[in-house]
Symmetry: C2
Subunit: 380 residues, 2 copies
Amino acid sequence: MSASGVVAKGLDHVVVDRSSIAWVGGETGDLVYRGFDVRDIVPGVAYESAVHLLLHGDPPTSDPSPEVVGALRRERHPPASSERVVDVLEPTVPPLEALRTIVSSLGDGRFGYPPTLEDGYRLIAQTPVLLARFVRRAQGRPPVAPDPNLSHAADYLHMLTGATARPEQVAALESYLVLLADHGMNASTFALRTAISTQSDLASAATAALAVLKGPVHGGAPSLVSDMLDAVGSPDRAEAWVARQVAEDRVLFGFGHRAYKTDDPRAVVLHAIARRVAAPDRLLLAETVEACALAALRAAHPRARLYTNVEFWSAVVLEAVGLPRTLFTPTFAVARTAGWTAHALEQASDNRLIRPDLEYVGPPKGRSWPRALPGRGTTG
Amino acid sequence: MSASGVVAKGLDHVVVDRSSIAWVGGETGDLVYRGFDVRDIVPGVAYESAVHLLLHGDPPTSDPSPEVVGALRRERHPPASSERVVDVLEPTVPPLEALRTIVSSLGDGRFGYPPTLEDGYRLIAQTPVLLARFVRRAQGRPPVAPDPNLSHAADYLHMLTGATARPEQVAALESYLVLLADHGMNASTFALRTAISTQSDLASAATAALAVLKGPVHGGAPSLVSDMLDAVGSPDRAEAWVARQVAEDRVLFGFGHRAYKTDDPRAVVLHAIARRVAAPDRLLLAETVEACALAALRAAHPRARLYTNVEFWSAVVLEAVGLPRTLFTPTFAVARTAGWTAHALEQASDNRLIRPDLEYVGPPKGRSWPRALPGRGTTG
């Protein structure tokens, strides 16, 4: 009952399992899906093919993956009960919180243990349909039915807006979805694997992941990058604005990562995509803020190895795709349903309950309940 | 990118943090809440007072805790939006899955970071109200409004049945709720702390905990104990039935625990309570099955130190209280909202992102995407 001193708070560098899904090379700036460098497949590879790669371990025989295209098309019609849940949620609920409730509602007894590929396709296919339904309902607009002839990325945008997006917007969103489809271990995936470790199901596990993703330390911050760019306002104000934030020890959003001690490869690719789709003014503002922030942060913390992280350029790209800020993290979740499914299947394939210890440092056993307090429980 | 050999799969014996909430003495058979042995406070102490102890660290000035009684009374009216979610869920959804969706719906933007005591009271108070509403609706019956003059335990039963329970049933349920109110670290509490570690909120974190609790390896098994007792049928059949299960390597539900290598103190106390409230036939059946199972299991696994766990006598007590089997694990969750709140507050008080590593053992970087597959993403 006393402190022994060995506490792995945060579990940094504790290896909880082996995985063959994704390699995050924090020192070298690598993100590899089952042996494929994400820089070699983005842009260019369809989200459906990335899903295929993550779930099956190998690329499909043609692109986009016919198997995944077919499965997602088949599963793109959510149960009426989940639609009813969407339709009673308050329009004021933040979309990321609504999404947690919506995904939970998919778990109505049809998802079991062990998780299956079909469970995964259902989760990947139905998440954007129900999210878009909620978003439109909150805007007072009727839902847009899924279009089986559109790609996953194009249909997501179509269901949100009811309009046909420009091809370069769809391409940018597709690249984003592929880049964010998995990232090895992280807090939400860890919660998902913890859920599967108790032999819970994929809908429950994805709900747990969404509950964890909400935290700004994990997935909840990209919209703050857009807010920050708005606050700066114009490139000529960037240097002074950034200097003041650093001097006052305020956070600059979009920099630093627990894993990457060099360029985050996703940030590099998303920056290149932003050059193609972002409005020139916004791109210049973002590039100027990035340069000023990196200079100021590195001067203030010379040993910290700070780089731009995925959230910074995600925000600029998702803005250019036309998504409102409240949908940035939910769209991250839409992408990540692929990786979550892969991790759930992998965890179940060689499962063991994840259950660490806490060291008790409270009062020792032996305190006496006050005698003047006769219990009520004994008499009802 | 290659296996180093040090993998803490399951995180057994990895100490993830220090805590002053509960001490689980696995070798000595102890469960201690903030210095109080649960055997000294059960039966006798009101659930409201156990909540007080867990959340504040000390016993209340009178029993039941006036502060907690007042807070739960104040918070016992869920938002209409969550009631609407309850009212659109299919009656066929298992109550534990419904409860996950219901608790998620409480997180509509009003729960923030850091979690507060008021958040906790809201969670503890509203969970049984909404669960009972769902259960009655699934039975085609109108909801029973909370009664501010009843204790938490009595009101839970009243909202479920619409009738006044017998005092010994309320007392038994109250004891159960106190005994299950916390258990230090376990998979659901760990998921909750992981959620809080990203600066997510208490409603999200409790949702994650419920998603994890669903797994039969964690909280999902007590109803299987009742099924097992039914299958045995009568005491004279117990020995042969148990022998056949063990011979065929089938699970006997309610025995063995990751932490306890001796009597689980909760099982001991619940057994004593069962002696007072269970029907004599059922009690005799349960005691006979327990004795046969322990003898058979110990003969088959002489080194495993197998004892009766909390689920075995929980099932017998909750049956005697009048709860259907589908409510056993949800009632566990009703009890545990107290401990979950205590852990959320403690995690937030000295927070650090919980993010372990995975060791990548997949194909090495450098695979080439088939050239015959031109990407669609580049053209939209």
